[in-house]
């Protein structure tokens, strides 16, 4: 193949239907060697179907899948390699760890089935267990392990084959919150240390932000945006991405003026109130007179008790409620017909009904086409 560096996994206009319903529509993606790519979206967005097509558990209706340059699925060319011939590892939500075997035997099993030599099995299994921090529990039965430890066994079992890519399907969603946070960081460290190309499916946006080199946001079978976590979060391509990742205040209005990278918008606050004129960065595809949506994050809004003198963007409102979260206060402010969330970093006793002013820097707001 010519052109840019070849990906370990390449999806070329992948489409999968279930009856009349299109689960995945023309999805194209190239995953580079050693990269950690997350497919993120709500249930039914097509992320798991995409993963199952890569794994060979589903057969795509159109398009092509290549793993390390080899076509593993193409209806047009009549190719469908079974999962066991694709050189992939898989880690699922259910640990799928055999209870009647020790940790060592669980991990060694796949190698033994493939008739790997005895000393090689010993070395590779030990190596994989060391990597996941379970070498000291090698002789323990799987039933004696905690949820986090079982998931590590599942991971060791996937990496012991040294597959070209590991596919993860919501592997942490059965763990409790604290363990999940630990495992995220650990999984990323492992993945980097072992240098394994990974495709990870989740509906949990914080997981995607913490773990990924790149995030693929999906909705209704279609890729909405591909980018690194900061870009996806700070420069969402549309209102769906803005609201699916973190919290975004989305205010609809019209575009009054556009000057290069900047937009002036009129945002009506309510039927009885005048619109406010606000300035923000322009997203791709906005043009004058169009219906637009302003997206601004709670942490990019500043709250003032008196009207600020020199702020470019000021929204007047009144406090509905505040929720104290320790490291910050989550404030809800009513501005006309809108409820705006603001992250207040310094503790202030605000009372419901109190008048406040919200400001934000133009570069921290984003004008999206509706």
């Amino acid at each position: 193949m010519s052109g840019p560096a070849r990906g370990v996994v390449e999806l070329d206009r992948l489409t999968k239907r279930f009856g009349a319903e299109v689960a995945v529509r023309e999805v194209s993606l190239t995953v580079a060697p050693g990269e950690f790519v997350t497919l993120l979206g709500p249930s039914g967005c097509g992320k798991t179907t995409t993963l199952r097509c890569i794994a060979g558990l589903e057969s795509p209706d159109a398009g092509e899948i290549r793993i390390d340059g080899q076509v593993v699925a193409s209806r047009a060319r009549g190719i469908h390699l079974p999962p066991e011939d694709r050189d992939i590892g898989m880690v699922f939500q259910s640990y799928a760890v055999w209870p009647h075997m020790t940790v060592f035997d669980n991990v060694a099993y796949g190698l033994r089935v493939r008739r790997v030599g005895r000393s090689d099995v010993q070395d590779r299994t030990t190596g994989a267990l060391e990597l996941v921090g379970l070498a000291h529990l090698a002789d323990r039965y799987a039933t004696k392990l905690s949820g986090g430890q079982r998931q590590r066994v599942a991971l060791a079992r996937a990496i012991v084959y040294r597959p070209k890519v590991i596919l993860f399907d919501e592997p942490l969603s059965n763990l409790d919150a604290k363990l999940r946070e630990q495992m995220r960081v650990e999984l990323v460290r492992l993945q980097h240390d072992a240098g394994i190309t990974s495709i990870y499916v989740t509906h949990d946006q914080s997981e995607a932000l913490v773990m990924s080199d790149r995030v693929v946001v999906m909705h209704a079978g279609v890729i909405q945006q591909i980018g690194d976590p900061r870009t996806i979060y700070a420069r969402p391509a549309n209102a769906f991405v803005a609201s699916f990742l973190g919290v975004a205040n989305l205010l609809e209005g019209t575009l009054a003026d556009q000057n290069g990278a900047w937009c002036e918008m009129d945002i009506p606050l309510g039927p009885t109130q005048p619109s406010v004129r606000l300035r923000a960065a322009a997203a791709a595809g906005v043009s004058r007179g169009q219906r637009i949506t302003l997206s601004v994050r709670p942490e990019d809004l500043a709250l003032h008790l008196t009207r600020p003198d020199r702020a470019v963007n000021v929204i007047e409102g009144e406090v509905i409620d505040t929720v104290y979260l320790g490291s910050f206060v989550d404030g809800q402010v009513r501005a006309g017909a809108h409820t705006i969330s603001v992250q207040i970093d310094h503790y202030e006793r605000l009372v419901p009904g109190q008048k406040v002013f919200l400001t934000f820097e133009p570069e921290h707001g984003l004008c999206l086409s509706s």
């Binding site: 976590p229 900061r230 700070a234 990742l245 942490e299 320790g326 992250q343």
Partner: protein, 369 residues
Amino acid sequence: MEAGSPAPRHLEVRGLVKSFGPERAVDDISFGVPRGKFLTLLGPSGCGKTTTLMCIAGLHRLDAGEIRVGGVAYTSVADRIFLAPERRDIGMVFQSYAIWPHMTVAENVAYPLEIRKVARAEIHDRVADVLRLVGLLEMAGKLATQLSGGQQQRAALARAIVYRPKLLLFDEPLSNLDLKLREQMRVELKRIQREVGITSVYVTHDQAEALVMSDEIIVMSDGRIQQTGDPHDIYARPANRYVSNFIGVANLLPGRVVRVTAPGRGEIEVQEGAARVRLPCRLGEGVGEGAPAVLSVRPENVQALREDRGEPRLEGLVLQTIFLGNCLDCRVRWGAFEWKILAHPRYLLRAGERVFLRLDPEHSLAVRP
């Protein structure tokens, strides 16, 4: 009740002691809850919080102490009073939803009124009111088994408040729900409690839940009260190392108070490996000059700057940054210590950078070890 106390206490617990065999599960605790307020008993498992709740409910007998509701003694060891649980007029919501699967939502909620022989028309109205309040009015005719976990917990709450009990007791009601739903339900539960105005005692091991929901929090460990206060007090002015560590995340550095500069203010010297520094700070209760203390600083109150602004100098190395969307979680090595710092997500710190840490003396607290 003492004269001049600010709010009359609807629930009053005094000198409560409860042992199981040789072990004191609850060791002489006293507290009160003003009418309509929401109190949380917070602590790890085995701290005595659930035992305390069971004593209030009348499901345990006390070894010593008394419990009063609205001035009436429910339990008094000295006066040999023990009111049976069913006569206490208390609503309870548990972790397991305890909703009857063979009944509809409306029948479940009506049940407590039926056994209290409330008139049929009134039952209908009150059930409808309560279901509207918890957002289940559309589900009234559904069988309880057709509800999601969050909906079942709403039904359980509706059943507990429909007969307007004197007291509501919650025993970790949200711990079976997934994280997203749990976060929604915290705010929702608090809203409902405020609307019905029933005095509530809530037991949890989840500090975030306690901060969000409570008017007042009691932090417990080993059967004793570590601190009582409103959420902001507990978070910003922890009484000791235990509370500081249990609530939220804190950087905790052992040191010694070297100087008291004003009432409640001073300087602490901390050392971690080769790094040592004197820092101005606030002094917690019981911390004086020369005393060993622990400096407690929350991650959001540490700033990592690229330029050196002079003394006190805390120069460190960024080990790791984790982008969390609305904030940046950073780890900075200083001597042998690893600082946890929460920065604004727009601040682009990178692993391997040298930084200078600034602490706000107002948010640096020396507490008892």
